[in-house]
């Protein structure tokens, strides 16, 4: 378990982290979400022991990041945001170096190397110098070094940045697979990523935690309700009046007008009511036609924007 306790980091007078606290349970995939410069990377640098906290502390299974940094680093795998690798080494040599310095027992090194090379799909590039790798393979090499010593915890800083859509899906699946056995913290500012991968999300902004929970919980807590979008062919004023008359409706907003007689409305129903049928009834009674109708729930994007305003 990772426990971040009132963590503060100040660099030349700037409070980059302002007393944040959160916990990550064993075996959980935690998404660390926030705009650029929110403090995600700083938090990760402190957990991994690259920086020390200005105040507060981080505990990893009762080990403390200021006093037992080395013991914690033994249990961590870390992929920094820029994926800094030793470019002059070949992939195989590099992974071998990591295995050596991370003290993977001699008799296991070969099997571990084979395992991570297979897990990360690096078979075709193991004899290539790292500087010749594509961005996707670089990222995978970075992941491979992070898992070679079978750490309990993986810290991944924006692991999908700069990858193409296919590579993003591959890396995401890899993270999910790794997350079955490990605790994973990964940061991102791509919202769909969080929904696709994480058990839980922490949203951070300007050094403070502004939201925490499953993607669904966050949407709920924000109080954003379901909206119905409907596009109707007919006279606008009359449609508006007829809809207004429905007592199940809380609010109607004009959304768009496709032509002189096709209008879109966003409708907020009173809490918990399903009004789709009522809308259909009104339209049928008046001999208009429905061209589109759909339900829209608050997306992570809305939550994110709302919380980091």
């Amino acid at each position: 378990m990772i426990k971040v306790d009132n963590l503060t980091k100040q660099i030349s007078g700037n409070k980059i982290l302002n007393s944040i606290s959160f916990e990550v349970r064993d075996g959980e995939i935690l998404g660390f979400l926030g705009p650029n410069g929110a403090g995600k990377t700083t938090t990760m640098k402190i957990i991994t022991g690259f920086w020390t906290p200005s105040a507060g502390n981080v505990y990893v299974n009762d080990l403390n990041v200021t006093a037992d940094s080395l013991a914690i680093r033994d249990r961590l795998g870390y992929l920094p945001e820029t994926v800094p690798l030793y470019d002059d080494m070949k992939v195989y040599e590099y992974l071998r170096f990591i295995a050596d310095i991370r003290n993977v027992p001699k008799e296991n090194i070969t099997s571990r190397l084979k395992q991570v090379i297979a897990d990360c799909g690096l078979e075709s590039v193991i004899t290539k110098p790292i500087e010749e790798l594509s961005k996707g393979y670089r990222q995978r090499t970075g992941l491979a070094q992070a898992i070679i010593h079978e750490p309990e915890i993986l810290i991944l800083d924006e692991p999908t940045t700069g990858l193409d859509p296919n590579q993003i899906v591959e890396i995401r699946n890899l993270i999910k697979k790794l997350g079955e056995r490990k605790t994973v913290i990964f940061s991102t500012h791509i919202l769909s990523e969080v929904q696709a991968t994480c058990d839980r999300v922490i949203i951070i902004n300007k050094g403070k935690i502004v939201g925490e929970g499953t993607p669904g919980e966050l949407a709920q807590r924000l109080g954003t309700q379901e909206m119905i979008y409907v596009k109707i062919k007919g006279p606008r004023e009359v449609i508006y009046g007829a809809l207004r008359a429905l007592e199940q409706i809380e609010e109607i907003l004009d959304k768009d007008a496709e032509s002189e007689e096709i209008f879109g409305f966003a409708i907020r129903p009173k809490a918990g009511l399903d009004i789709r049928e009522h809308i259909a009834d009104v339209v049928r009674q008046n001999n208009w036609s429905i061209l589109e109708l759909n339900r829209q729930t608050a997306s992570m994007e809305d939550v994110f924007r709302e919380l980091t305003k």
């Binding site: 022991g49 920094p80 820029t82 690798l85 170096f97 310095i101």
Partner: protein, 242 residues
């Protein structure tokens, strides 16, 4: 403190660093230039003087080292900082000391390789006449110690910047300063109070003693403390990132 695992980690880093040196063509170029320049300058006067010793070579060596050792250390930390790999290196389960020692020992090993390749010189000289082996062995020992001192200083300077070129030039200047202050010319013109201090601080005077074949513990302690000081400062600089 020096458990087997502790040393194994230094060794892993040492191996990687040494490998990096020899993985780059620059290493071979530098060794080639070092050998060619050294041999040429030596043999230039060797036949004129007509004495079967290597005294002249070891008078030259500190000057050659002045440029060779900064070239070895300039990459050390500067490149790690520039490419960001330092973040990765220092979040491995190794202490800052281990990181510094791994790099230093690799640089030293590289220098020793370069020195070993100069062994053709004493072999040639001994073929041409009877040589006194003592001063030659002493000189090589002195060369390793002085080179190590330059390397420790150069590595420290490399930890101050992201730019290899700056690291190189600053290290040449710093090594020159420490070599120069022990020079006879400086000591003679310096105020009388300062002269013994400068002589003691200067890297060159201690080298001359060893090169004459006089192995004095004072000189060895001087070099070891000089090396330790810069490695320790290096470690402190690395720790400052936090």
């Amino acid at each position: 403190m020096f458990s087997k695992i502790y040393l194994q980690k230094i060794y892993a880093l040492f191996k990687k660093e040494l490998f990096s040196y020899f993985n780059s063509p620059i290493a071979y170029i530098f060794i080639a230039v070092f050998l060619i320049v050294g041999n040429w300058l030596f043999f230039n006067s060797f036949f004129v003087i007509g004495q079967a010793n290597m005294r002249n070579y070891f008078i030259l060596l500190p000057w050659i080292f002045l440029f060779l050792t900064p070239a070895i250390t300039m990459r050390g930390w500067a490149e790690e900082k520039r490419s960001g790999t330092i973040e990765f290196l220092l979040t491995l389960p190794i202490t800052d000391w281990q990181a510094v020692l791994g790099k230093f020992l690799a640089a030293l090993a590289f220098l020793v390789v370069a020195l070993v390749l100069t062994a053709t010189l004493p072999v040639t000289v001994s073929y041409l006449g009877a040589v006194d082996v003592g001063p030659i062995i002493g000189s090589y020992l002195g060369a390793v110690l002085m080179g190590a001192a330059y390397l420790a200083l150069g590595l420290f300077i490399s930890s101050l910047t992201k730019n290899q070129i700056i690291a190189f030039i600053a290290a040449v200047a710093a090594c020159f300063l420490f070599f120069f202050i022990g020079n006879d010319f400086v000591i003679m013109t310096a105020p009388r109070v300062l002269a013994p201090l400068l002589q003691w601080l200067g890297l060159g005077a201690h080298f001359d003693n060893i090169a004459r074949g006089v192995i004095d513990t004072k000189d060895i302690i001087y070099y070891l403390s000089f090396i330790w000081l810069w490695l320790w400062l290096n470690k402190e600089i690395i720790a400052l990132r936090r």
